[in-house]
């Protein structure tokens, strides 16, 4: 019997289609791979002149910006979706509303070497990448026009990864809190209003107790297959310590996150034959100049986390129209598979 499962946070329903359950291996056929030439890659060390001037970098002492000697480098997108300059200019157009496309769009180049898979980076390098995210968010929160910063990765063609294969992530800062983020915050607040507890903390407790969806845990993080997984082998990584802002992560947590993230990435890569995926850091919006009462309990009710979505099934008309997802692999099966990942090697 197929099941309908409801995401307890935002209320999105997922069809777990047990009737046409597939093995994770059935999906890996669709995974696509490609090659790229480091000679032409604008993100490789020595090619700094091929990008717009850098915004930030972790680099060796006595090296200057836009020259070799860096470990992680952040540059503006060459074709930004949103521009840093100018004001919002909110206005109407008949029944419609518009504003200027103001914000920031940056690329985080995750390695000076031409490495294409995030999981191939050393744990220390991943820690530096995560630390770069923290630095950028911390800097952007000074801009009063910016309400939200989203950090994400598109890996592989099916996940919207572009023609440049060099490992990278993106940052988009928006002048409004995005709709999906608001829905998630609202869901968390409703639960908190009812139970006086953070729903994510409750999820962590339940998953640790039940075990059937717990993939991994280390000192500060758990990796789970969410109960209402939208995609086969979807993984969420949640910090055990309650905190709504990713950028307030501690040094110890950074190391622990780098460890669990690398492990999960490697298991997905080997287990699913290098699948395309998206990963998104879900974190709280900036809370300055708030209306009275707005986001009042956000620090207690919201819990930052990372969602990793392998893109092996196609989202089609039904999902678009309904907001329902059809997932042919029950998350409990996915957990077994991702747990066994290590033993198989």
């Amino acid at each position: 019997m197929p099941e309908l499962r409801r995401d307890p946070i935002i209320g999105r329903w997922v069809i777990i289609a047990t009737e046409r359950a597939k093995r994770p291996h059935d999906f890996s056929k669709t995974a696509e791979s490609a090659v790229d030439n480091p000679e032409e890659c604008p993100f490789c060390e020595g090619h700094e002149h091929m990008t717009p001037p850098e915004i930030f970098a972790f680099r060796d002492d006595k090296t200057s910006p836009d020259s070799p000697g860096w470990k992680v480098r952040v540059v503006p997108s060459i074709a930004p979706l949103l521009r840093v300059e100018g004001d919002l200019g909110r206005r109407g157009w008949g029944v419609y509303d518009i504003m200027n496309a103001t914000g920031a769009h940056e690329v985080i180049i995750e390695s000076p070497q031409h490495i294409t898979h995030f999981g191939k980076l050393s744990q220390e390098q991943i820690r530096l990448v995560l630390k770069t995210y923290v630095q950028r968010i911390d800097d952007l929160q000074n801009d009063p026009r910016i309400k939200y910063v989203m950090i994400y990765k598109n890996y592989g063609k099916e996940a919207g990864g572009g023609h440049l294969l060099h490992t990278k992530s993106f940052l988009i800062a928006t002048p409004i809190t995005p709709k999906r983020v608001k829905e998630e915050l609202q869901g968390a607040r409703i639960y908190y209003g009812y139970k006086d507890r953070c729903i994510f903390c409750d999820i962590i407790r339940q998953e640790q107790e039940m075990g059937e969806r717990l993939i991994l845990e280390n000192d500060f993080f758990v990796a789970i297959s969410p109960f209402a997984s939208r995609f086969p082998c979807e993984v969420w990584i949640l910090p055990k310590n309650h905190n709504c802002d990713f950028y307030k992560i501690t040094e110890k947590e950074l190391t622990s996150l780098a460890e669990i993230l690398k492990e999960i990435m490697n298991r997905l890569e080997t287990g699913l034959n290098d699948p395309p995926f998206n990963f998104i850091i879900h974190t709280a919006p900036f809370r300055k100049k708030v209306k009275p009462g707005y986001w009042k309990t956000l620090e207690w009710d919201y819990h930052w986390h990372i969602e990793i979505m392998p893109r092996l099934t196609r989202v089609a008309g039904f999902e678009w129209g309904s907001g329902f997802y059809i997932n042919p692999l029950p998350p409990e099966e996915a957990t077994k598979f991702l747990k066994e990942g290590v033993n198989n090697e």
């Binding site: 019997m1 197929p2 099941e3 309908l4 499962r5 409801r6 307890p8 999105r12 329903w13 069809i15 777990i16 009737e19 046409r20 074709a79 930004p80 979706l81 949103l82 521009r83 157009w93 008949g94 419609y96 509303d97 518009i98 200027n100 496309a101 939200y148 989203m150 994400y152 990765k153 598109n154 063609k157 099916e158 996940a159 919207g160 993106f170 988009i172 409004i176 995005p178 709709k179 999906r180 983020v181 829905e183 729903i199 409750d202 339940q206 109960f227 998104i280 969602e307 979505m309 196609r314 989202v315 089609a316 008309g317 039904f318 678009w320 129209g321 309904s322 907001g323 329902f324 059809i326």
Partner: protein, 342 residues
């Protein structure tokens, strides 16, 4: 056309409140840029369960248009409706809502049907006759009226996935119908948005959109006596098209007489213009209609949304619900209008 609209803008959908980044800083994308992303789909025509003669390869038919009569599950049909062989939801049983700790679940009850749009494996909606499309629309209507009688179903979703990238797994022209035991989230959002507007203005927002589009005249793709096809002001996808009935009605299944013929005409024209402008791109279309038992609503207005799937939806869209559309709808309209349609 106002140049202002060709600049990069954030546009807000007045119904569901979703924002779209429309237009690009460097250069707005024209069909030239978009066509590079369109995958060629060539049909092999092999082992097709939807072709005449292969009726036994599908579950027994639910209905069919057979002008010369004849037995079910034999050739001689023009449109045929069958249950999906691999249904996402099952028709038998009860919902049995229950919880596991803090999670909620229920059985996956529902109907999942396939509407085979033509016996001809190699044609497409954009190419077949308006008369044939009328038969398809009539099949949609008939199935809706029948499924509405089942009290377990709260929502009927009719959609089409065309092309591999848009999720089609079979080549033969077909659309699908899913009957759901709950009103889905996206639909509830849309209803809520429309309701809020109605509360404030005492007018249907879709009727207002039609009025504004007839006044602006820069986003009209096609029109006839009963329908208007527009590139919506807040297009999420390049070359997105919406088809709206002039006549305010919240329930697609109440469509009648001339309206069926006019809908067939405008659907074909819209899909044809899209096909020609972008070298046959993959697309989804979805009929947005009121939930079962909620017909005659003053604030909701049924319509069809056609979404070409040329650019991949990536992490940012997933996480934010923001969309990025490199082709402003006013520009898309120009290209769609430039296609010659007899």
């Amino acid at each position: 056309m106002s140049d202002e609209l060709l600049k990069p803008l954030l546009r807000r959908d007045p119904i569901v409140g979703r924002w779209v980044i429309s237009g690009r800083v460097d250069k707005n994308w024209t069909p030239e840029e978009l066509k590079k992303f369109v995958e060629k789909h060539e049909k092999t025509g092999k082992n097709c369960p939807f072709c005449p003669g292969n009726e036994k390869m599908t579950p027994p038919e639910i209905m069919a248009d057979r002008p010369q009569g004849g037995h079910p599950d034999t050739p001689g049909w023009r449109v045929r409706v069958v249950p999906n062989k691999y249904p996402a939801l099952k028709i038998e049983g009860d919902l049995d809502k229950r919880g596991i700790g803090l999670y909620d679940m229920s059985n996956g009850i529902g109907a999942h049907e396939v509407i085979i749009e033509t016996p001809d494996h190699f044609s497409e909606l954009a190419d077949i006759s308006v008369d044939q499309i009328q038969k398809v629309i009539f099949a949609y209507k008939t199935r809706c009226l029948d499924l509405k009688k089942d009290p377990r179903f709260k929502y009927l979703l009719i959609f089409k996935n065309y092309g591999r990238v848009a999720g089609a797994s079979l080549e033969h022209p077909h659309s699908q119908l899913i009957a759901l035991p709950i009103v889905p989230k996206r639909v509830r959002e849309e209803l809520k948005g429309a309701h809020r507007y109605f509360d404030y203005r005492d007018r249907c927002i879709f009727c207002d959109i039609i009025q504004q589009e007839l006044y602006d005249r820069i986003r009209i793709v096609a029109d006839n006596a009963n329908f208007l096809a527009i590139a919506p002001f807040v297009s999420r996808f390049p070359f997105e098209i919406w088809i709206l009935p002039y006549n305010h009605s919240s329930d697609f299944s109440e469509i009648e007489g001339d309206e069926i013929a006019d809908l067939a005409q405008i659907l074909k024209e819209s899909l044809y213009r899209l096909k020609m402008a972008l070298d046959d791109p993959p697309y989804n279309f979805i009929i947005h209609s009121a939930p079962v038992g909620d017909s005659n609503s003053e604030y909701y207005h049924w319509h069809i949304e056609i979404m070409p799937k040329i650019i991949k939806v990536a992490g940012f869209e997933w996480g934010s619900g923001f969309y990025i559309n490199p082709t402003p709808p006013e520009l898309a309209t120009e290209y769609l209008k430039a296609v010659e349609y007899k």
